[in-house]
């Protein structure tokens, strides 16, 4: 058989393509469900850790269902939009839109002690790349109950410390946010911070946390991120009050 004849090559490629396509689609469809589940579980774990509930891959779903009692999609006027599933909202895409078209998710958690917390997802820019996280507020919508942050590529030992609970996130607990002077028309850099993240200012100041020494830019990034994302919710907070 001449393996170099054109007809042979056509047949060979066709057969190969069919086999490969079949194998791949089988793998993709067969595993899709599990993969989606993994992504979902990770997100749920993050949300839970924001309200200081520890979870494992196995019990995350159960705990999520137990504690996260409500979830909404909010527009810039603080109204609930039904059309969009808050759990699947892509923060990056939403933040790229203008304020008027932006839809942000919010989650309501009910803790074992009966209190409810509002969980707000946040996203912004650090020194080298995106940073993101969740902030949970007490039902006064002012006091921070917990915060988690993560980053893509901040400097290890400096900016990267924002993902450390002991070094950074812990100090957010109990701080208050100041939404009074928030102006959606202005950029975050140009207005008073919702919560200041500055070195040496955190101690004893309810409206500020200590920035990371040597990680000034990342710290500022966190501050702008909070101002941007929490500020968006100020109409919503006003309504729920």
């Amino acid at each position: 058989m001449d393996t170099n004849s054109n007809s042979y090559i056509y047949i060979f490629s066709s057969v190969m393509v069919i086999i490969v396509a079949a194998a791949l689609s089988l793998a993709a469809t067969g595993l899709k469900e599990r993969q989606d589940k993994n992504v979902e579980i990770e997100k749920k774990q993050n949300l839970l850790s924001c309200v200081l509930i520890e979870s494992t891959v196995e019990d995350a779903e159960a705990k999520f269902d137990q504690h996260i009692v409500e979830k909404y999609t909010i527009d810039h006027q603080g109204k609930v939009v039904d059309a969009v599933d808050p759990f699947t909202i892509d923060m990056k895409a939403e933040l790229a839109k203008s304020i008027e078209e932006r839809h942000m998710p919010v989650f309501i958690a009910k803790l074992d002690d009966g209190s409810t917390k509002t969980i707000i997802p946040v996203r912004g820019t650090g020194l080298w790349g995106p940073i993101w996280g969740y902030v949970s507020l007490n039902d006064d919508n002012k006091t921070i109950y917990g915060a988690v942050f993560d980053h893509k590529s901040e400097t290890p030992g400096l900016g990267a410390e924002i993902s450390s609970y002991d070094q950074f996130q812990k100090q957010f607990e109990g701080k208050t946010i100041e939404l009074g002077s928030y102006d959606p028309a202005k950029e975050a850099k140009q207005q008073a911070p919702v919560l200041a993240v500055t070195k040496g200012m955190g101690e004893g100041n309810p409206n500020a946390v200590d920035g990371i020494s040597g990680g000034t830019i990342t710290s500022k990034g966190v501050q702008y991120m909070l101002t941007d994302c929490l500020g968006f919710f100020s109409p919503y907070f006003n309504q729920t009050h």
Binding site: N4, I9, V20, P156
Partner: protein
């Protein structure tokens, strides 16, 4: 089915004297990217080995039927298909590791070791030696990856396999993890050092023989 010493050599040679990374200098990019932690390095090494074994095996089985004119495309398709399957499996079963490996699993396709072995070995050898060759090269790749990852995780994070091994007492005395070890350049320097050490030893071997 007994393995001859020649077969055995196919497995052992790539571990040292024909190591794909330190001697043939193939597959460096992934070695730099995923060696921050032992766990991801091991998963990567296993993935590469699995893909290599299967692609070597399939190529070897098909070697007489593959049209010469499109053989590179055929090899590529085999590798690509296998890599996608491995990627899917990782995402489904070891999600956290697959997150760390991110694009680098996909980039196994471009890992020079694979195409190199297919073209250089599997296209001209029977299935059994091809599989052995794949095991050897996969292991040779893995050994270096694990050594590099061991050093980087130990010095960079004070951990091995995610478990802290540098005692807290050290940190209290002022020890600090070396942030440079986590950055990609340090992987290059570590690989370079391994090559340095290996070449110095290799030179001695030659002197003894000759």
């Amino acid at each position: 089915m007994a393995l001859t010493s020649k077969d055995l050599k196919l497995v052992t040679n790539p571990l040292n004297m024909e190591n794909p990374i330190t001697v043939q200098v193939l597959g460096i990019c992934s070695a730099l990217a995923i060696t921050v932690q032992m766990k991801s390095a091991v998963v990567m090494a296993l993935s590469v080995t699995v893909v290599l074994i299967f692609s070597n095996l399939i190529t070897s089985l098909l070697r007489n039927t593959i049209p010469n004119r499109i053989r590179i495309i055929v090899q590529l398709t085999i590798v690509a298909a296998l890599v996608i399957i491995v990627d899917q499996i990782l995402k489904a079963y070891v999600y956290d590791v697959s997150k760390q490996l991110s694009v680098f699993v996909g980039l196994i396709i471009t890992n020079c070791i694979l195409m190199g072995r297919l073209e250089a070995f599997a296209m001209g050898n029977k299935p059994l030696p091809s599989v052995l060759d794949a095991i050897g090269n996969g292991a040779g790749y893995g050994v270096i990856l694990i050594i590099v990852a061991f050093l980087r995780e130990l010095l960079g994070s004070g951990k091995i396999w995610g478990y802290q091994v540098v005692p807290d007492a050290f940190y209290e005395m002022g020890y600090v993890n070396n942030g440079l070890m986590i950055l990609p350049p340090m992987a290059l320097i570590t690989v370079g050092t391994i090559i340095w050490v290996q070449r110095s030893r290799y030179k001695q071997l030659i002197e003894q023989n000759g």
